[in-house]
């Protein structure tokens, strides 16, 4: 029972991180119908930048802000410089480009920051909290991870549902041509969408780095699990991405805990196949059109 409890808590924290990666992928998918395979690598790069800042004497919090800010910036730059010029090309071209960007960043990182495995400092202690005499497998840093993921999600929800800017961004994602006819600067909205997605990805990077150590491909697994989570959620749904992320977190934690951590990836694959057999368009696929 205790073991189950420990694994559940662990799954919750991991799930929150997969959820933010999934959310990053969904944000871009909704805006441009592209899977950004470089999402993980972009987050890897921002995480290295944070470590660089911290190693050069910056306090953790400054580093944290650096991660989010450079996340925003890298997302915007990638959209403007790499995605925009091939906007009207077939979507596959852009997907290949994001794969190229992934390889590029993973080759650039060791040159810029060194290829050896580095440890990454957490914001808070990673020793489990104590309640009286017993210690539980939930550390202040886990709490911080959950808290910051939830905070970012609430902020995004408010942005998209309650603000005029969010309304413009949603409109641009649903129908760029009609949005332009309504005076919406769709190009700017796309840049902003990529920037926000990359910020959420950067958050995932900083949050997972303390538990997996930092090396140029450290985000690859997170990208795979985040992608699985996004597909589980229907690719189109932000809520679906979050729930998909949590499902992945719990499932991988149980698989790893009860059957050995070698089976993590296989577990992800089995879940993906099982869910897609039952709901081919994901759990939260939205029905868009009225049947007449």
């Amino acid at each position: 029972m205790t073991r189950f409890f420990v694994l559940t808590l662990n799954g919750l924290t991991q799930g929150a991180i997969y959820a933010s990666m999934a959310l990053a992928l969904v944000l871009i998918w909704r805006a441009t119908k592209i899977i950004n395979f470089a999402q993980g690598a972009m987050a890897m790069f921002t995480t290295y930048l944070v470590l660089f800042a911290i190693e050069h004497g910056a306090p953790y919090w400054l580093g944290f802000i650096v991660a989010l800010a450079t996340g925003l910036l890298i997302g915007a730059v990638v959209e403007r410089v790499i995605v925009r010029p091939v906007e009207s090309a077939p979507p596959l071209n852009v997907v290949i480009l994001t794969l190229g960007l992934l390889l590029f960043l993973e080759a650039l990182a060791p040159m810029a920051f060194g290829g050896q495995i580095k440890s990454f400092p957490p914001a808070f202690s990673i020793v489990g909290l104590r309640f009286g005499a017993s210690q539980i497998a939930f550390s202040p840093f886990d709490l911080f991870t959950l808290g910051s993921v939830v905070a970012v999600m609430i902020l995004l929800l408010v942005l998209f549902q309650k603000t005029n800017l969010g309304l413009r961004m949603r409109a641009s994602a649903f129908n760029p041509e009609v949005s332009r006819l309504l005076g919406v600067r769709v190009g700017r909205m796309l840049t902003l969408g990529w920037a926000l997605a990359s910020l959420v990805g950067a958050l995932a990077g900083v949050l997972i780095a303390p538990s997996v150590l930092l090396y140029p491909t450290f985000m690859d697994d997170v990208l795979v699990f985040g992608f699985t989570a996004a597909v589980l959620g229907g690719l189109d749904s932000a809520v679906g991405a979050v729930i998909g992320g949590l499902v992945m977190g719990f499932a991988l934690s149980y698989v790893g805990g009860y059957f050995g951590s070698d089976l993590d990836t296989v577990g992800a694959l089995v879940i993906l196949i099982a869910v897609l057999m039952v709901r081919p368009r994901g759990i939260f696929a939205v029905q868009r059109f009225r049947e007449v």
Binding site: N164, L167, R168, R170, A171, F174, N175, E177, V178, S179, R180, L181, L182, G183, V184, R185, V186, V286, R288, F289, R290
Partner: protein, 235 residues
């Protein structure tokens, strides 16, 4: 005043419009008639900036808008209601309407304009918070026109509003538009395949055939020209 001067548009080797010119005076309705493939939709898409012309120009109140981006043309008060009505089906009725005037950054004027749109089209008020995909065809058309109203557009480009609408619904919507033309000096370019009903609301008419203007004149004159009706308008 909307002026189209010697406009030529081509899709690769296929020329869709050959030197088309027309003028729509403020506070009037001009209808562009013609069969499928005559170039009607190309004409409105070029005016609103979605399609780039090979030659010629588009002027709004004397200003050349030929090479402006669609969003900039929209911000000059040109509202293009595309074929199939162009509502954002995933957004609510209210969100669709608000979107029309967001670029004005004038929350107060926006609220007033929203009120007017709901007053003009009461069915929309009842469905305010529903997603637009739950609307009927007529309600969608109302929503598109209402959106132009919220945008305080001076020029309305309507691309085949009759498509898929019951005749009675269309008549009601056109009557509302007519009121806007009279009361506010709205300038309307109405693209139609259904010549008879379009000519009955329009002031001026133009007939396109394979990308060329083959006839133009006062709407009631076109209605009574026997030869033209048989040759191009089919009634």
């Amino acid at each position: 005043m909307l002026e189209v001067i010697d406009l030529t548009v081509a899709y690769g080797p296929v020329v869709a419009l050959h030197g088309v010119s027309l003028t729509v005076a403020d506070g009037s309705i001009t209808t562009v008639l013609g069969a499928n493939g005559a170039g009607k939709t190309t004409l409105v898409r070029t005016i609103s900036g979605l399609t780039r012309p090979r030659g010629g120009s588009v002027r709004l109140d004397g200003r050349d808008i030929t090479n402006l981006a669609p969003e900039d043309i929209a911000r000059l008060g040109v509202a293009h209601v595309p074929q199939g009505q162009g509502v954002l089906a995933e957004l609510t009725v209210d969100e669709n309407l608000r979107l029309g005037g967001l670029w004005r950054r004038d929350p107060r004027g926006q609220r007033e304009a929203l009120g007017e749109a709901y007053e003009l089209f009461p069915p929309l008020a009842q469905r305010r918070h529903l997603a637009a995909f739950s609307l009927s065809g007529g309600e969608r058309q109302m929503l598109s026109v209402g959106r132009a109203l919220v945008a305080r557009a001076g020029v309305l480009l309507l691309d085949e509003p009759s498509l898929g609408l019951a005749r009675l619904v269309l008549v009601q919507i056109m009557a509302r538009i007519k009121t806007l033309v009279k009361d506010r000096g709205l300038t309307v370019l109405l693209i139609e395949q259904n010549a008879k009903s379009a000519l009955s609301v329009a002031d001026e008419g133009i007939v396109l055939h394979l990308g060329k203007v083959v006839a133009r004149g006062r709407a009631h004159q076109l209605l009574s020209e026997e030869g033209l009706r048989h040759a191009y308008l089919g009634f």
